[in-house]
Subunit: 356 residues, 2 copies
């Protein structure tokens, strides 16, 4: 396929997923009216937190589905939408845990409800608490309904049961990863590289890559061996994505990532990059700066230069490259159709292109 | 049935639900081992938060199921366990919203994890935050798996679809009620009686009475008319229960309720009793005391005496009696088998006995 064709396929798939989500939220908002206008607003807020996303997980589902010759685009769109809703639930509750009130520059559910409260004259601590409370509820609704959407995909009994198992694995792993992440942020110790990778794999890679790819393959009736290979690819490429994300959080440009590149450093976020840095002899040079809430741009530049000169950046880039190559190796089997491989390989190239 | 026979039936049902939950948690803990010992502990903590409950919702499921002649006790136990897990999810997240660290005198999930953190030397604000974070995750797992247990009940496709709809309605209503409750606690205004009843109906009565009774009936293959009548009974009796709970929170004994009878008054909890009191001319006598965090026992006694003399207690008791009678009226139809009616009527009598 040419780049243009890929683009067309991709936007067609996204439109199908958007249509499922539109329908789902319309029904929910309609149903909510008998519970009062405030409840309708909660559903609207939840919906607006799913709009504008890259529909990354649905794209994984649908790429795998098409790749294995699936022809029921509607069913794939439902399964894709289920993963999108699972993703929404997880980030809404992750923001509750992190006490974050915005995501990518816009108010999230907590932020929207905090702002409604402050506008009504409610002072900040109570307004924030109200925002967080609404987000707990909204996340529950998204989580519960992610499973419900699988049911509405119209898949056969056996396939449905497998899809639910895959969704189950996605949440099971993500909860384990979130718990490890909570532990990271509770202690002052910086975790080891291996532990950060484990956390990122459980928390994000499994539900964002491994499971959506497997779900698409299962829905298309792929063999267990094929589902297995694709899952392995997803796991490895998912870890690579997280590592690249960690790198971009420090070395990326705001235009590239849509978020500031000083936030992670101010927060002292436990990334692979930082975990590795603590093991180098240069760490004492920047230890007092990483996690400094009022870090200025000169100090951030200094951290970056130390991370460069000490080889931390190169090591982390090498790690991302390694996981990407391991991922690609899983595609080189006759179990994976050539066309699917041809669609997934650019994903890896694109990923590595972002850190070059 | 005699009281003794009822007791035997009840403990047999409870043992069946306990067996399902035991099995579910064993599998989950086993599966969690590959994610690390901390994750196993989260599952253990969640499990211990389901043990020792009255299994009230499962009992509703199984009473309806047996009442309509259902014979697959195992299936009913799965559906009962699903409602128990939904209940666990909702109270764990309700405690997150209320920032409560204990329930009925014992640490809840937030409390257990806060205590683990303080024991490890982590100071209080951070330890509390860790506790709440763990509870967000644990509640998500319980919520998600409540739906999964319906799938494992072995019900036919049509029945399963109806059961999932009922669970869906349970969560949909409860989330709406929780949102109203959050609004109540955010403003200083005391809501009107009608609004408190609406909140309590959505937040608790629907998922605790209406839906479990309907689910049991559906699983047993009852007619739609019968399911409908039973649902109406459940809704009305559920409201009556909440009103009685509000009364016991102020006038009950600690032996009766298992919680202090000063807590609700110190918290200024928005109950039917207090909502009604604000409309009486005696309200100014106690307004400054209701919600006083350090309320002492003499002051609490004074509030109680004013709630008595102003007729607030009598009004609220009358309201509970009225909802109970409305509930019972829904049972007086040929759609409801006599044996089922005979088992549900004592529930109402018992309820009213608690406020006499």
């Amino acid at each position: 396929m040419t780049g243009h064709e890929l683009e067309t396929v991709s936007s067609k798939r996204q439109a199908q997923v958007d249509a499922v989500l539109d329908r789902f939220f319309s029904l929910a908002k309609n149903r909510a009216t008998s519970f009062g206008a405030d409840y309708v607003r909660l559903w609207e807020t939840l919906e607006s937190n799913t709009v504008g996303g890259k529909r990354f997980r649905p794209r994984m589902v649908m790429t795998a589905y098409d790749g294995f010759g699936g022809t029921d685009a509607e069913a794939a769109a439902y399964v894709g939408a289920a993963f999108e809703l699972l993703h929404t639930a997880l980030i809404v509750h992750d923001d509750v845990i992190d006490r974050d009130f915005s995501r990518r520059g816009a108010p999230n559910v907590s932020g929207s409800y905090r702002d409604i409260a402050t506008t009504a004259g409610i002072p900040i601590p109570r307004a924030e608490h109200r925002g967080i409370s609404a987000a707990v509820i909204a996340g529950d609704l998204a989580l519960f309904n992610s499973l419900r959407l699988i049911d509405r995909s119209g898949a056969s009994d056996t396939v449905r049961a497998r899809l639910l198992e895959i969704m189950d694995e996605a949440l099971f792993a993500s909860a384990a990863g979130e718990l490890i992440d909570v532990d990271f942020s509770t202690t002052t110790d910086v975790p080891r590289v291996h532990d950060v990778i484990t956390m990122e794999r459980f928390k994000t890679a499994v539900y964002s890559f491994e499971c959506p790819l497997q779900a698409g393959a299962v829905l298309a009736g792929a063999s267990e061996d094929a589902v297995d290979c694709l899952g392995r690819f997803g796991r490895e490429i998912g870890i690579a994505y997280q590592i690249v994300d960690d790198l971009l959080g420090v070395f990326g440009s705001e235009a590239q990532t849509g978020k500031t590149t000083i936030g992670d450093l101010r927060e002292g976020k436990r990334t692979v990059l930082i975990a590795y840095a603590t093991s180098t002899k240069e760490w004492p040079l920047i230890e007092h700066l990483v996690g400094k809430p009022d870090l200025n741009h000169d100090e951030a530049d200094y951290i970056r230069s130390v991370l460069e000169s000490s080889g931390c950046r190169a090591f982390t880039e090498g790690l991302a490259r390694n996981y990407t190559n391991e991922a690609l190796a899983h595609l080189r089997t006759t179990d994976i159709p050539a066309a699917l491989r041809a669609e997934l390989e650019p994903l890896a190239a694109d990923l590595l292109g972002r850190i070059k």
